[in-house]
Symmetry: C2
Subunit: 485 residues, 2 copies
């Protein structure tokens, strides 16, 4: 009691009452990224997290963090801070959120460890807004450490499951912040490009009455007194919109695959960036529209997200993503020839295995110096029933995949827009016509030739950044073994 | 045989082979909306639907349609068209898609019934690209007829179930085209406004392991060997992103409610426009951010979608949507007082019934001349457990709804960001703590004060346009009785 009574600074620190909107404070809170020498000698208020803290005699050094920005701060015993106040500051747990009033001071020597290198903060008041528990399930500095770095010193890295189990903390790292800001950018670039091209955004239902593509790998939902399914793709609905004269449509939304695949690139729920458009005479009009959209995304990322790309590269080094204009388009037969030349044995109409796709990516990169290309004219036998056959060779089809760094990111085709041919192809594939009646009927009242494709958002982000697991680019990934958080 | 041999125009018409991408034609197809007097006397190619056709002696008049635009066209026996060709044209079924080569001609008298009033097309070649079946399940002109109009003449309107059962055709009407172009605009305005404010777009999972808000009204999914649920809102994940330092986030995506409500405003699946943001000292910062976003949407619609609004109004007349700047904010107690003055009997802490919400909307419109307002400070008892109590009066809460034309479009609140208080409130609501452990734990490692809300896209479109059923603004609506198309 006596001690605290003697504390001249006792109103300058403490744990604030929970912010419950008691009052409208007229206080301006400065952003960490705006703490530059222009603010020198100003007294400012700031809200930030305690990133690290280190007490040292009569001083306590803190690094205060806001997202990817941080700044050094200091509380020192003097006429603004008592010994008790320095001790209080030193005891604030890491990741707590605090409000500080501080004088901005220019520093002589750059602070290399912080994003704000030219100033530090001299704290005059310090209040805890939200206290973190003392034991964190993971340390942020461990979570961003490149694999292998600091192993000799016994420094830890954090394994992926621990990161995902504690995603709320893992998402605070500079790497995660950069990944998901870039992902937000991909969506925006995708939509802005298409809006400029005259596309209309549509919203398609995710609960559907019949499994769209045959019935395998589909999740079942109980729907009142009956059962329903989760859509494996919005394709049927995109096509209905084309038949309904929307001409060019896109949608961004979840797609669901009940596939028991535990690989680096499969999720049971992911975000589809879907495109569908009517064309005039040749489905290459569709390919051109999609590849141009991808190129606009790549350019937008390159031009506007360099900081994010470099931040991710610090932890996960990779080569810059390369693309050509116009986009390289190879035919399936050419790809098979390249693979055979490299020693692969495969038939003309065999599908590409994942290792062969990867190998093909490397061969294409060597030969054409691009990380993005289109593989056109797949064998008809390996594509879904609604794929338009090649008019010149019945073994092939008007269909294509697109690849980034040797992995598939889009599958698409000219679709059959003729009810009769569609029926024939469904019968050939032994699909129950009754189940796809509504789909086939959509083409009975005049349907323009059209095509499209679906892009996996998480894969695009993973491959653009040269990452190796799609769970890194899904905020809250879902796979056969993970449903939380 | 003889007759057709004698047809000098036989290469100028017919049914084209199915467009299978046989060739890359160098032909430019003009858009209907670009058919203006500047194109007079030009020979152009056009692809369009046959909207109507009428043979009259040696002529056949067609109206050709592209989306909301249409133009009159004519095939007449002469040196470019034979009798057989006119007959062929007259027999093309409505809604078929055709390619025509035609001379653009300026007309003396405006063609009032078409969007292109100053020109007509003199067809020189006509080919069917996709043939519609002769019997349409509904007539487009019936589907856009205002209720009651032409009843004396025995003209039909189309009931809603027939429209929805045949959505591919119903979506071709001018009304549907306008509604869903405007809906696309709402999404774009929402995102553009928030992007400018520094919000990050997030993607939240729809398959979740535990029912987020207690467990009622949730759809169950079979998930490999276990069960999961469909998210009733992205709220938990939005909040986790705030705890993960994203500061301001939004998402656009499906939300699922297993509610057996067969009303004009309930869907089992709808599109949520969701916002969540950290604030400094008072949750009115959140309200201001959301209301400003809504105002930007209203302004954008007013300024850029007048054609669409007027098109919808032709079939469904309504008053222009009114809003104030800044947005009107009323407190719950004021609303109760207004309702009581109007004769309603209700307790201070009773929830608003739907009829009372409607009535309140009318009272507010009379008094303040606005169709949009915020109702603030709901009784704590009628809100979910995670709602922050009012610091000054424990019977109330820091929560709000927003209304358009007297119907709720958004529900939101300051959320409890303190794990201890959250636990207390969950216990008070008799919620199983084990089930919401991950949620509560999100707040243990430093959480900023924050709030947000979720907006129903279909409701916003319905109410902005003054429509009376949310199925009109959902492309493929889902309700307890409808799962198709």
């Amino acid at each position: 009691m006596l001690l605290s009574f003697q504390d001249f600074a006792k109103d300058r620190y403490g744990v604030s009452a929970m912010v419950q909107s008691q009052q409208k404070l007229d206080r301006v809170l400065v952003r960490v990224q705006d703490l530059t020498p222009e603010k020198a000698d100003q007294l400012i208020w700031l809200r930030a997290r305690v990133h690290t803290s280190r007490a040292k005699g009569k001083q306590c050094f803190l690094v205060l963090r806001q997202q990817q920005f941080n700044v050094q701060a200091l509380v020192a015993v003097g006429d603004r801070a008592s010994k008790q106040m320095v001790k209080f500051a030193a005891n604030i747990t890491k990741e707590s959120i605090i409000d500080v009033e501080a004088l901005v001071r220019k520093v002589e020597q750059k602070i290399e460890s912080c994003s704000q290198q030219d100033v530090e903060l001299h704290i005059e008041r310090i209040f805890v807004i939200s206290q973190a528990e003392p034991r964190l399930p993971l340390q942020l500095e461990d979570a961003v450490r490149p694999d292998g770095e600091g192993e000799e010193e016994g420094r830890a890295t954090v394994n992926q499951d621990t990161k995902l189990d504690n995603r709320v903390i893992d998402l605070r790292t500079t790497t995660s912040q950069a990944i998901f800001r870039l992902q937000s950018g991909v969506c925006q670039l995708f939509r802005d490009t298409l809006a400029k091209k005259g596309f209309v955004e549509i919203q398609t239902p995710k609960i559907i009455s019949a499994a769209s593509e045959g019935g395998a790998n589909v999740f079942t939902v109980s729907y009142f007194k009956t059962s329903a399914y989760l859509a494996q793709s919005p394709q049927l609905y995109k096509q209905m919109c084309i038949c309904a004269d929307f001409d060019k449509v896109f949608c961004v939304g979840p797609v669901f695959r009940a596939e028991d695949s535990n690989t680096h690139r499969h999720l049971t729920e992911f975000v589809g960036l879907d495109i569908e458009l009517a064309f005039n005479y040749h489905y290459h009009e569709v390919i051109d529209s999609i590849t141009d959209t991808m190129v606009q995304i790549f350019k937008g990322l390159r031009d506007n997200f360099q900081t994010e790309i470099q931040t991710v590269n610090k932890q996960f080094p990779s080569e810059p993503f390369k693309f050509l204009e116009p986009t390289l388009r190879l035919e399936y037969t050419e790809a098979v020839a390249m693979l055979r030349e490299a020693g692969v044995e495969m038939g003309d109409e065999d599908d590409l295995s994942t290792p062969n796709e990867k190998l093909l990516g490397r061969l294409v990169k060597e030969k054409y110096d691009t990380d993005f290309y289109v593989l056109d004219k797949y064998p008809l036998a390996v594509r879904p029933f609604y794929t338009m056959p090649d008019p010149n060779n019945p073994k092939y089809s008007n269909s294509y995949d697109m690849f980034m760094r040797g992995e598939e990111i889009l599958s698409g085709a000219q679709r059959i827009h003729d009810a009769q041919l569609l029926t024939e192809r469904a019968i050939h594939h032994q699909i129950d016509l009754e189940k796809i009646k509504a789909y086939i009927d959509s083409f009975r009242y005049g349907a323009p030739p059209h095509g499209g494709g679906g892009i996996g958002l998480e894969r695009v982000c993973m491959l653009y950044l040269g990452l190796h697991n799609v769970r890194q680019t899904s905020m809250f990934p879902r796979d056969p073994k993970r449903l939380t958080p």
